[in-house]
């Protein structure tokens, strides 16, 4: 049983205050108790996750193949692939997929790049480092709903963004009606999304940077490595694990785009900002088509799974 694992976990370290054989003798009677208390401690979290994550996930999976509605007098029937057939012939769904891809293709590299730049700027201790760390993180503690409302105001035709653009370009850049023009609505949402979330990934980068030993930099400096070479040959390889984490979390977050769209554009103008999750919530909640919404959620889930699997494969350790 598990007692056999113990030596390999803690090799050759006798329990303090006792010799190893004595400790082994003491372990046997408490073995069952350790199992029981262990499971007792895991149980509350495990039960809650089962009830509020696994079960609804399975439920949603099942509902996708039925005709269930939120409130309906008719009994729920199994309808096979009907919801998916409808989904894959719905031009709005393909538009949503395209919009989300556009969003992710811009947000993933730009946001992770900016976040890394911010982390590098505040990695070393200097006077006022805590001030900058706090300010960079401020947008993250601001709710996305508040942020969306605030930027909705700033993106008006007579709003702050247009005024700032015209001031800094000395009137050269004409203002746009950002959220009401299909060409600019998505870029506008992209900008505010990066503004809000970059600070969070800065913290993850920072965690990676802090885990790189300072001795490596000292050695590199002794060898006369330039700043760029230090980054290229010490920092970048040292961030290998962090890179994967940042990449996967930003991608999942980008594909799940919802709050901004819900507050600012409701998917418009002309479906130019609608997203997969927005379509799922719209059909499930507003139109009460639970089954169709579940089908959209299922497709989304498979998509996220596929993309993170591909990313993990591409960033795997190559040795």
């Amino acid at each position: 049983m598990t007692t056999t694992q113990l030596p390999s976990r803690r090799p050759a370290v006798p329990a303090p205050g006792g010799t190893t054989p004595a400790a082994a003798r003491r372990k046997r009677p408490r073995h069952l108790r350790e199992q029981l208390s262990g499971w007792g401690m895991i149980a509350p979290a495990a039960v809650l996750l089962l009830a509020f994550v696994f079960l609804p996930a399975i439920l949603g999976f099942g509902l996708a193949f039925t005709n269930a509605r939120l409130i309906s007098p008719r009994p729920v029937e199994f309808v096979g692939m009907d919801n998916f057939a409808r989904l894959f012939t719905d031009p709005t769904f393909w538009r949503a997929l395209l919009n989300v891809s556009y969003f992710a293709v811009v947000v993933v590299p730009v946001q992770s790049g900016l976040a890394l730049a911010m982390a590098l700027l505040i990695n070393k201790k200097f006077r006022g480092v805590n001030f900058f760390r706090t300010v960079y993180f401020l947008p993250v503690v601001t709710s996305m709903v508040v942020v969306s409302l605030l930027w909705l105001f700033m993106y008006r035709k007579d709003g702050l963004i247009n005024e700032l653009l015209s001031t800094f370009s000395f009137g050269l850049i004409p203002g746009a009606d950002w959220l009401n023009d299909p060409a600019t609505a998505m870029p506008a949402i992209i900008a505010l999304s990066i503004w809000q979330a970059a600070g969070f990934h800065m913290i993850i980068w920072l965690a990676g940077l802090q885990s790189i030993s300072g001795e490596l930099y000292e050695a590199a400096q002794l060898d006369g490595a330039s700043r760029w070479h230090q980054f290229r040959y010490v920092t970048w390889p040292g961030l290998k694990h962090t890179r994967t984490l940042v990449l996967v979390t930003i991608t999942i977050q980008a594909l799940g785009l919802f709050d901004q769209v819900s507050v600012m554009t409701q998917g418009g103008p002309l479906d130019s900002t609608t997203t997969i999750i927005y379509e799922a919530v719209r059909s499930g909640f507003k139109q009460q088509e639970t089954s169709y919404a579940s089908a959209i959620s299922l497709v989304f889930f498979v998509l996220v799974l596929l993309i993170s699997a591909v990313q993990r494969y591409l960033t795997r350790e190559k040795d």
Partner: protein, 292 residues
């Protein structure tokens, strides 16, 4: 060499300030605008006055907000719901992580993997089946001396709390942190006759302060900011949280000064709390918390 170094650090300082300005300007604009009448907000927009609390400054927008929205009630609800979620979340998740990290429990690897797997399920995809499911759950109410059982959690406080207590990311953070605390401490405590719960409470948790600060903030933020979920499951005004209040401003002829006042009102408490905890939060995440 020395000059190049000085130039470098001046450049870095300039970039730092530029980034800080970009990060801060919308928030400053929001706070400043909340103190101005609408006409002046638009008048100041084209100059630096947009970011300065000058001119006709007053708290009129805030008084108007309290007339339009039951803001005090919403604030109390959000404080209560978030606080309970944070406290229960810290307890449940750290307890689970403790057993997974420090005890010999059969099958714990499978459990940990299953817990981490929940990280890739975005909440929005669960929300709809979850609405249906919480509406089937029993609800116990102590009425005088009799226990009453009713069905359905819709329109309650617990529907805003209980589904969000257990959290895979919190368990992961605690697990990572617990791994860095020497296991010899447990061994010594056991020889002194301490039970596992006592080791958890008196040996490991007191050493896990930074992890607790991180988990507290990362649980508090989504609880305070939740919007989609209460929109779906809470209809009664007296139970609704602050973010729903924003709905009261989605109408024609909205006063932007009032909107900015309400936005500031629900943002400032979080910012204050964050600044109070930020040192231990950022440092703990940066030094030990998240490592891919």
């Amino acid at each position: 060499m020395k000059n190049a170094f000085r130039l470098n650090s001046i450049g870095a300082a300039a970039v730092r300030i530029l980034f800080a300005a970009v990060a801060a300007f919308p928030i400053v604009f929001m706070l400043v605008s909340s103190l101005k009448p609408d006409q002046q907000i638009f008048g100041d927009m084209s100059s630096v006055a947009a970011f300065l609390p000058i001119g006709n400054i007053s708290l009129d927008n805030y008084t108007a907000v309290f007339d339009r929205v039951p803001a005090a009630r919403f604030l109390i609800n959000s404080v209560g719901v978030s606080a309970v979620t944070v406290v229960l979340g810290i307890f449940v998740n750290s307890l689970c992580a403790f057993a997974l990290s420090r005890m010999q429990v059969r099958g714990k690897k499978v459990v940990f993997t299953a817990i981490l797997a929940t990280l890739i399920v975005p909440f929005q995809t669960l929300a709809l089946p979850l609405v249906w499911w919480v509406n089937q759950l029993p609800y116990f109410e102590l009425n005088g001396f009799s226990l009453e059982i009713s069905k359905g959690w819709l329109d309650t406080y617990q529907v805003q709390i209980i589904p969000f207590i257990a959290n895979a990311f919190s368990i992961y953070l605690y697990h990572q942190y617990f791994e860095s605390i020497p296991k010899e401490l447990d061994e010594a405590a056991r020889i002194d006759g301490a039970g596992w719960f006592k080791i958890y409470r008196q040996v490991v948790m007191p050493l896990a302060g930074p992890a607790t600060a991180t988990v507290a903030i990362l649980t508090f933020l989504p609880a305070w900011n939740s919007y989609l979920w209460p929109l779906m499951v809470v209809q009664s005004e007296e139970l609704r949280p602050v973010m729903i209040g924003i709905q009261y401003f989605f109408q024609l002829n909205v006063s932007w000064g009032e909107v900015m006042a309400y936005a500031s009102l629900i943002t400032v408490p979080v910012v204050v709390l964050f600044i109070a905890f930020q040192r231990s939060f950022i440092n703990s995440i940066a030094s030990s918390g998240v490592k891919g």
